[in-house]
C-alpha cells in the first residue's frame, strides 16, 4: 500500500517535471535566436566603441584570429580592415581589480596607439570603482591616442605608483588594474603585431555587404 502511494507521488512529481520541462523547452526555442542575436549586437556595440567606423569596411565580429598571450590564454582578436588593409585591431584584456576581474576591450591602431578602451565587465564597488565605466565618468577616455612610449613604459602607472594616470578618491586598486590591463594589452599587441598585420579579411570583396554587416545587421 505504502509503495503504491510512493509511486503515485513519484508520478505526480514526474508529470510536473515533464510539464515544466516542456515549458522551458518551448521558451528556449522561442528565445534562442533572439538571444544569440542580442549577444552579437552587444559584441558589435562594444567593438564599435573602440574601433571607429571610418577605419574598417569589414564585419569586425566575423574577421577574427586567435592568438595566445604570455600566460598561454587564447585571445580573440577582432581585425578591422579597409580595402584589405589592416587598420586596427581590438581585443579583450583584463586586470584584477578590487573585487575580481576587470575586462577591458581595447582597440589599437597599426602604430600601437590606443584607438579606444572600454570596460566590458567589472565587479568594483558601485560609486567608487565604477567610474571606469564610460557611462559613469570620462576617465577611461584619456587612454585614447596613447601608446607604449607615449607616455614611456615606466609612466604607465597610477600617480600613486609614480605614473601619470589619476586614481579616484577612495579607489586606487581599480584604476591601477585598468592601467595595467591596457599596458599589458599594448605590450601584447607589440609582441604579436606581425601576425595581426598580415591578416587577410574574408569579406573585403563584398564591400557593401561587409559594411552593412559591420553596422549591426548580420543575418
Amino acid at each position: 500500500m505504502s509503495s503504491q502511494r510512493t509511486l503515485i507521488h513519484g508520478l505526480i512529481l514526474a508529470a510536473f517535471c515533464l510539464g515544466f520541462g516542456m515549458l522551458l523547452v518551448t521558451t528556449n526555442s522561442l528565445t534562442k535566436d533572439d538571444i544569440a542575436q542580442r549577444a552579437i549586437e552587444d559584441r558589435q556595440n562594444s567593438l564599435k566603441q573602440v574601433i571607429p567606423d571610418s577605419i574598417h569596411d569589414n564585419n569586425l565580429a566575423a574577421d577574427t584570429l586567435t592568438l595566445k598571450n604570455e600566460q598561454g590564454k587564447d585571445v580573440v582578436i577582432y581585425v578591422a580592415t579597409k580595402e584589405g588593409k589592416v587598420g586596427g585591431v581590438a581585443f579583450e584584456t583584463s586586470g584584477i581589480g578590487y573585487s575580481g576581474e576587470i575586462k577591458v576591450m581595447l582597440g589599437v591602431d597599426p602604430e600601437g596607439k590606443v584607438l579606444g578602451a572600454r570596460v566590458l565587465m567589472h565587479k568594483e564597488t558601485p560609486g567608487l570603482g565604477d567610474k571606469i565605466e564610460v557611462k559613469k565618468g570620462d576617465w577611461i577616455l584619456r587612454f585614447t591616442g596613447l601608446s607604449i612610449g607615449n607616455p614611456p613604459l615606466e609612466k604607465w602607472k597610477v600617480k600613486k605608483d609614480g605614473g601619470q594616470f589619476d586614481q579616484f578618491a577612495g579607489a586606487t586598486i581599480t584604476p591601477r588594474a585598468v592601467v595595467r590591463a591596457i599596458r599589458e594589452g599594448l605590450q601584447f599587441f607589440d609582441a604579436n603585431k606581425a601576425k595581426m598585420m598580415e591578416f587577410k579579411s574574408s569579406n573585403t570583396a563584398a564591400d557593401g555587404a561587409g559594411k552593412a554587416a559591420a553596422t549591426g545587421e548580420t543575418k
Binding site: I12, F20, L24, D34, T125, P126, G127, K136
Partner: protein
C-alpha cells in the same frame, strides 16, 4: 487567509511586509541594495516572478499531493525564473543588462516560497495572484527604502542611473542629495546593508508600536462603554 483584497494589500505592503515583518528574503535585500535603483530593480523582478508563480501554484493546487509539494514549488519557481530570464534577455535586452544579474538570485529567495506555501497552494487564483503581487510590491518598497538610505549616506545620490533601468523619461528621479565625495563608503559596502536593514526594522517596529498604543488608548473608552 481572507479574500478581502484591501487586507491582502495592507498585509503585503506594510503589516506583514516580506522583509520588514517576516524577515524573509534578506539575502537579496541586503546584497542588492547598494543603490535605490538596484533595490527597485531587484524588487520589480521579484514581484513579477512572485505574481506569476503564485498564479501557477494556485492553478495546480489540487493536483499535487502534500508529500511532493515542496519539490513542485521548487520546480515552479525555477521554471518561472528561467522563463523570465530568457524572455527578458531576448526581448527586453536593455533592461536585462541592468536586471539580468538579479534574476537568477530570485530562485534562492525564500519569500516567494513562503507565499506559495502559505497562500497560493491553499487559495484560488485571484487572491493568490493579489497576494503574490502585493507581497512583491512590498518587497520592492522595502528594498528601495534600504537602497535609498544606503545610497544617500554612502554615495550622496538618490536613484542614480534610474534612467538605465526605467528608461530616459525617469531621468528626473536621479538626484544628488549630498555633495560629491562626502558619503560614508561603509554604507554601500556589506556592513551598511546590515546596519540599514536593522535600523529600518527598528523604525517599522516603532511605528507599529505607536499605532498599537494609539489603538489601546482609544480602546478603553469603547470597552468601558
Amino acid at each position: 487567509m481572507t479574500t478581502d483584497y484591501r487586507t491582502i494589500a495592507r498585509e503585503g505592503l506594510w503589516s506583514n511586509n516580506g522583509v520588514l515583518s517576516m524577515m524573509l528574503g534578506l539575502c537579496p535585500a541586503m546584497a542588492m541594495t547598494n543603490s535605490a535603483t538596484n533595490g527597485l530593480g531587484m524588487g520589480l523582478a521579484t514581484a513579477f516572478v512572485m505574481t506569476s508563480s503564485s498564479v501557477i501554484a494556485s492553478l495546480f493546487r489540487n493536483s499535487f499531493s502534500q508529500e511532493v509539494r515542496i519539490p513542485v514549488f521548487v520546480l515552479i519557481m525555477g521554471t518561472m525564473v528561467t522563463v523570465v530570464d530568457m524572455c527578458m534577455n531576448a526581448w527586453l535586452h536593455e533592461l536585462y543588462k541592468v536586471l539580468g544579474l538579479f534574476i537568477p538570485l530570485i530562485v534562492v529567495n525564500c519569500l516567494p516560497f513562503a507565499r506559495i506555501e502559505m497562500v497560493a497552494s491553499k487559495n484560488p487564483m485571484l487572491p493568490s495572484m493579489a497576494d503574490g503581487f502585493f507581497m512583491g510590491i512590498g518587497f520592492t518598497l522595502a528594498l528601495t527604502a534600504i537602497g535609498a538610505v544606503r545610497e544617500i549616506s554612502g554615495s550622496g545620490t538618490l536613484f542614480a542611473d534610474a534612467s538605465l533601468l526605467l528608461g530616459s523619461t525617469f531621468k528626473f528621479m536621479e538626484m544628488r542629495i549630498l555633495p560629491e565625495e562626502t558619503g560614508i563608503l561603509m554604507m554601500i559596502l556589506p556592513p551598511g546593508a546590515f546596519l540599514v536593514t536593522g535600523l529600518l526594522l527598528v523604525a517599522k517596529r516603532m511605528i507599529d508600536e505607536r499605532s498599537v498604543r494609539k489603538d489601546t488608548q482609544a480602546a478603553p473608552a469603547t470597552s468601558a462603554a
